[in-house]
Structure formats: structure tokens, C-alpha cells
Amino acid sequence: MKLLIVEDDTYQARWALSSLSGELAGVTVQTISTEYTFRSEFEKIAAECPQVVIIDIMLRWTEPTRDMVLPPPEIRREGAMKAGLRCAKMLTQDQRTKGCFILLYSVLDRSSMVDDLRALGPNVLFLQKSVDHDALAKTVRFLLQLPAGTSLGNAKVFVVHGRDGESRETVARFLQRLGLEPILLFEQSRGGGLTVIEKLESHADVPCAVVLLTPDDSGALKGDILKSRARQNVIFELGYFVGKIGRKNVYALYKDEVELPSDYHGVLYIRFDSEGAWRLQLAGQLKAAGLPIDLNSVL
């Protein structure tokens, strides 16, 4: 089994490797530090077909050397900010490597490249770089244990949310720590003239959905005292996913103040408590749904 790391920062590569040391028994590791080397050695990479490829997105083209080759005009136009995406594209387009699990590991904001990520297909995951590389280690462990040929489409979880950005980010980060890719509708492309429902449909091919019920709205029966409720779009999307993937695969995280929608029996409601007990409950449900999660990573 082989792991390829494409990272131009030697220290980052070393730290990442040290954080992965517990996951790499029997795994051969190769490190490449420039886009030029990646392209030059692509035939060899493709022939060996690594199980997992970790790619930094912002990569330099080459090292400064006396005989360095400058990038061709089209690469110069796109620049270093898309270097890792170009490398990932080469892997996904080659018959020998299209089944590799590719982990784009970057400090860049995922929302700035959603179209590129979608075009790369389901076996390309994005993970935000973090100082402790903890999520990286967990994700690589998850990918290394998958049988070759597995589609990573299963590793995505749709997150339905309202206006509470902090809660949304907390849940998204937690899912990433579990090695899953949260799909947030607001991060998806606004282009292509898609309506909200069309965008929802185009991203709804997921095994599970997490619905955040946060008190963003007020509402009541006519004449009653107003109560805190989730946004109407949240309730709509909750119903959409219950219909689409089944109520057992929809998990509603609710804040204390929010009024829970009635008549959704069978949907699991988990209290989104400040102590964080929801994490273990949610992870347990996701594991029970068949997603390969190491529950130790929650603790």
C-alpha cells in the first residue's frame, strides 16, 4: 500500500508525516515537493497507483535551480493557487489512478473552489489544514482502511442549517474531524442558474443528513405566544431528506429554546448541548448508518 504526499513546505510535510506515524504500518510513503516534479514523475506515480494521495493546493512550480524550467503559459496564468487542483485532476483523469483517494489539504477556503472540487469527482476530499493535523490523521486512517475501488461519495454528509453560523461551523468541523465531508448548501456554486431546490437536488446524493434546528425564527398558531423556531427552509429541507434518504438517516440537532416540529416521529432528535454530549451521540448514529468512523476519535 502506498501513500503519496505532495507538499512544498518541508516542515508541513514532516509534521503531517509525524502525525500519521501511527497509521502507516506497512505503508510506503513518497513525498513530492513541486508541481513540476509531480508532472515529471506522473507516469511512475500512475504505474504504482498510490492508495491515498495528500495534496497541498498552493504548490510552487519548481525549486530554484540553475537549470529550472519555467511553467507553460496556461499554468502561469492560473498560478500556484490551483497547482494542487491540477495535480488532482491529472490523477482523476488517468485510468490507472482515477480510483485513488485524493485528500486536498489546504489553508485555502473550500468555498472558493467548490466548482473545481465538484468537477474532480467523489474520490477527492477537501480538508482544511489545521495546526495539529489531527483531522488529517483520522481521515488518512479512514481512507487507508477502505477497500480499493470504494467510492468516497459515501463519506459525505449533508448539513442543513439556518442562520446560526457558529453552530453550523461547529458541526461542519466536527464532521471533518470524523473524516467526513460536510456538504453545506451555501458553499455550493451560485452559478449555472440553478434554483435553491435544484442545488439541493444536485448535492443530495448522500447517505446521511444532519439538520440543525436553531432558534432563528419566531412563530406560533394564530393568537398564541410567539415561540422560537427554526427557519422555514430548514424544516423544508428536513422533510426533503426524510423523503429522499429515509428518516433513519436524518439526525436533527436542536438547541434548547427551539420548538421542535411535530409529526416527524422516527427522526432522531439530539440535543445540541454546550457540553458537547451531542458529538458522541451523532457519531454513534453515523457509525450505525454504516459510515466508517472510529468512535475513539470523538473522545
Binding site: 512544498d8 498552493m58 504548490l59 510552487r60 525549486e63 529550472m68 498560478g79 500556484a80 493557487m81
Partner: protein, 197 residues
């Protein structure tokens, strides 16, 4: 860890100064005080030590500080904003390190010019600077094609900030084109305080 911490502090100060500059042109004038040459040499030593740890060792670079002024200049004084000056030198060394060939030398020289200016000169052997490059480098944000190909994250403001700091000290930034031996030299020239005044 100290090198990382020092670099973070420099970046923080740079951001502060950049913000300051965006609202006025007083980049380095507000915090000037009389500084001894020996203090500047110590600052150069610190910068060199940080770069050895941060990237020099990794790429087999030798980074040395050479004091060519002699002991008589140690007490010489200049009016300087130490933070701005250190930032300027840091930028010059950063460029020299980033664009050097592996296993080459980066020199930091502390000299006195015939016009009695302090000269902080940084030399390296790496990507070449032509006279056209030097002309183009006056522009904020300029990066040569080779520089952009070898360092992904540069913004092309290092030389511009160094030039700004030099001029705020009544001095100048002087870049010499790469010589036949492949050495590029970039120098900050800073006037001494006249002891008669």
C-alpha cells in the same frame, strides 16, 4: 520555537505597519530613536539565526553575518525606527533565502560606505536579477516569472517595503544586478547621525 515566535511577531508588526501605511505615508517615521550600530548588528545576528532554523538548514544554506566596520563604528549612531529597519532587513534576507540555490551562501554584510553611510548588504547565489528586473521591482506587487514559479505564496511587497523603510530613514535601497559569478546583492544605505549636531 523561538524562531517561529519571532517570525510571527514580525508578521504581526508588518500587518500593523501596512495598515498604518494604508492610512498615511508615515511608514517608519513615528518611532525613530537614536540607535547604536552595535544594536543593529545584534539585530542582524538574530535575523540570521532565525533563518538558519526556519529554512536555511533545510536547504543547506550557509547564512552568515559579516561585520566589516571595525570596532570604531560600534558606537556610531543613526536615527532609526528599529522595527521598520528589522522588517526591511528581514525582507531582504527572506528573498535571498527563498530564491537561493540549494547548498549556497547567503551573506549579510554590515559596512560603512565612503559617504559614511551604514550599509546593510545581503548577497545570495540564486535566481538572477537583471537590470530590467531591478527597474520593474520598483513596482509594488512585481514578481519575476522565475520567482513566481519557485515560491507559491509571495506577494511582491518585500522589496517595496524595504525601499519604503530605507527612504523613511533618509537612505535608499540599492540592488546590483547578478554578477558573472551568479551573486546578487541588495543593500540598504542609511545615513549616520552627524556627531557635530
Amino acid at each position: 520555537m523561538e524562531a517561529i515566535s519571532a517570525t510571527c511577531t514580525r508578521i504581526e508588526q508588518l500587518i500593523y505597519r501596512y495598515l498604518l501605511y494604508s492610512s498615511s505615508t508615515n511608514f517608519a517615521g513615528a518611532s525613530k530613536r537614536v540607535v547604536r550600530a552595535s544594536d543593529i548588528i545584534r539585530s542582524l545576528e538574530r535575523i540570521a539565526a532565525d533563518f538558519r532554523v526556519l529554512s536555511g538548514l533545510e536547504r543547506g544554506l550557509e547564512i552568515d553575518v559579516n561585520d566589516r566596520t571595525g570596532p570604531d563604528l560600534r558606537d556610531a549612531e543613526l536615527s532609526a525606527d528599529e522595527v521598520a529597519l528589522e522588517q526591511a532587513v528581514f525582507n531582504l534576507v527572506d528573498n535571498a533565502v527563498k530564491y537561493s540555490f540549494r547548498d549556497s551562501k547567503v551573506g549579510i554584510f554590515f559596512e560603512l560606505s565612503p559617504e559614511r553611510e551604514i550599509v546593510i548588504r545581503v548577497t545570495n547565489t540564486g535566481l538572477a536579477m537583471t537590470t530590467q528586473d531591478i527597474e520593474a521591482s520598483q513596482e509594488r506587487g512585481w514578481r519575476s516569472a522565475a520567482a513566481a514559479a519557485t515560491v507559491a505564496s509571495g506577494q511582491g511587497i518585500g522589496l517595496w517595503i524595504a525601499r519604503l523603510a530605507a527612504s523613511a530613514h533618509g537612505g535608499q535601497l540599492k540592488i546590483s544586478p547578478t554578477d558573472l559569478e551568479g551573486v546578487t546583492s541588495v543593500a540598504l544605505l542609511l545615513p549616520l547621525v552627524d556627531p557635530q549636531q
